[in-house]
Symmetry: C2
Subunit: 327 residues, 2 copies
């Protein structure tokens, strides 16, 4: 019997999960739930669409609900609500609010006897895992996380809000010399400016004051003021042609020493290069849905994160096959 | 109360564990066990040394026994034997014999109610984990494992056995063009020769036939015949001066696609650059000793591998701290 998956929300992430589930032999997509009028949503696979309010009627038809809404407005309500009825997975990524979100989801999952896994994806997610493994193996060392080259949605939005800007795309780019220093095991202390560059492609209104726009971008607190930022003004056609994708990625490093006198240096690097940020995140969500289902079948309940999931639960193969083929 | 560690065997790996435990706040080294005359072994930290036959008298003094012998002759006997009395960790790395070793250790650990974790290190170990995570996240893709640049003990030994060779050191080196192709997501099919180079530094006897030695190396079946091999003849002084270390490392890649038509490519790379192969392995063993102890405290027993251990068990911090600081 296949694991029956439900999706809540049909943006980039929801579509990514739809694709990932359709490629997973041990899963089937049962239903999509939306806050929009269900008739207005056409799914790629033709999976039936229901109002999110009707999910509660389908507790016997869905094994794991994958929540594909946003961390700002959707997940803080949706995940605890759905955890009352289902095993759930979300990609909650507001780092500062994770403990609070965890507590609320955990309370509901314990009541319902279901498993929830929150903050799944690549950061938080795979990057977090690599920070943990790195610290555990090399307790005497330093962590470094770099993001990019990739599109930051939040920064792109911030540029778009500037007066006279019609459209924009912002790339976060790791500074090459900083990467080289970390890879060489030099354990550099790096400021915000020394770690990442920001590059903006901006479509301005006809006759807009480009110098003012560029200045407003470069001096914007929190978003750009602490970085070396490059601004390129281009046409809408160019933006649509050359900057349509949503690539991302980055690296997590753990550098540290071993030996009685710390005489031996080691560098651990985990690196992602992603053509599609949301589709990769969706693929991680889908793998953890498998884990949530299996854990719940074993009697587990409550809220978990990637830290709490033994890797074998993510893979379709048996323990015996994994030991034989992958160990 | 600290986790009380015992070490069996005092070669490079045992010394590495001694160093790693001495740097771990939550652990203390209780005893070292050897098959040599205990009086003949001087430990770096002054920890007491006993005959391995006396280990059975210390079941109330040691929480986890870390087995630091070799996979060929020591671990097949030692791990199941010690599993009768202790939680144990080993680095058994004869890939083809892992299922058999697992079964034997599992039987003893279930009888004793203890936890054993076998094949811990970096390959098998961290590399295996990354193969598993990669396949689980990107089911539609390819695996690549590269080793080096690093010293292969087995290949160095093979060269030393050649008539007229006094000493030798062999480096395994990944082929740069192969790495580039994999990193670019080209999914190349690579032969043995296309993946790794082998470089040998050889000290020959005075008057030895160097051409014959070079030819014997380059045509040696299994070890060198399938590779492009370079041979350098150097003096013992040069070997001791320039090739004393035991560095190693390598990369595990998972490259794959997502999307309904496989239209988006992704590259996951996990990379190690290690000054000391045995000390890094020892550090991984030590982190998994923490996990074995905690799992056994929770009532778990039986044989496990890195695939079965939830990452949080490896780190000294609480779940709450991990979620707050590393997620």
């Amino acid at each position: 019997m296949k694991i029956r998956i439900g999706i809540v929300g049909y943006g980039n992430l929801g579509r990514g999960v739809e694709a990932a589930v359709s490629k997973s032999e041990d899963m089937e997509l049962t239903a999509l739930f939306t806050r929009r009028a269900p008739d207005s949503v056409k799914t790629k696979t033709g999976v039936p669409v229901y109002s999110v309010d009707d999910a509660v009627k389908m507790t016997d038809k869905i094994d794991v609900m994958i929540l594909c809404g946003g961390s700002a407005n959707d997940l803080p309500q949706q995940t605890p609500e759905m955890a009352k009825y289902f095993n759930v997975i979300d990609s909650f990524d507001t780092h500062a609010k994770i403990p609070e979100h965890f507590a609320r989801v955990d309370a509901q999952s314990r009541k319902s006897g279901k498993v929830s896994i929150i903050s799944v994806g690549w950061d938080p997610g795979m990057f977090s895992l690599n920070r943990l493994y790195g610290q555990a193996i090399l307790p005497n060392g330093n962590d470094y996380t770099f993001w990019g080259k990739g599109v930051s949605q939040g920064h792109s939005d911030a540029v778009r809000r500037i007066d006279g800007v019609l459209d924009a795309r912002q790339y976060t780019i790791p500074v090459e010399s900083a990467l080289e220093s970390v890879r060489a095991g030099e354990n550099p202390e790096l400021t915000t400016r020394q770690k990442h560059l920001r590059e903006c492609f901006v479509v301005a209104e006809d006759g807009a004051d480009l110098a003012r726009i560029e200045n407003e971008i470069k001096t914007m607190p929190n978003y750009f003021a602490d970085y070396d930022t490059t601004v390129h003004f281009i046409s809408q056609e160019e933006l649509d042609r050359d900057h349509k994708g949503i690539p991302h990625g980055g690296m997590v490093f753990r550098t540290g020493t071993t030996g009685f006198d710390g005489e031996n240096k080691h560098v651990i690097e985990y690196r992602l290069k992603l053509d599609s940020n949301p589709e990769f995140t969706s693929s991680v969500l889908t793998a953890y849905a498998r884990a949530a289902y299996r854990l719940n079948c074993e009697g587990a309940c409550g809220c978990k994160t990637v830290f709490d999931i033994a890797p074998a639960y993510l893979h379709t193969a048996s323990g015996e096959e994994l030991r034989k083929n992958l160990l």
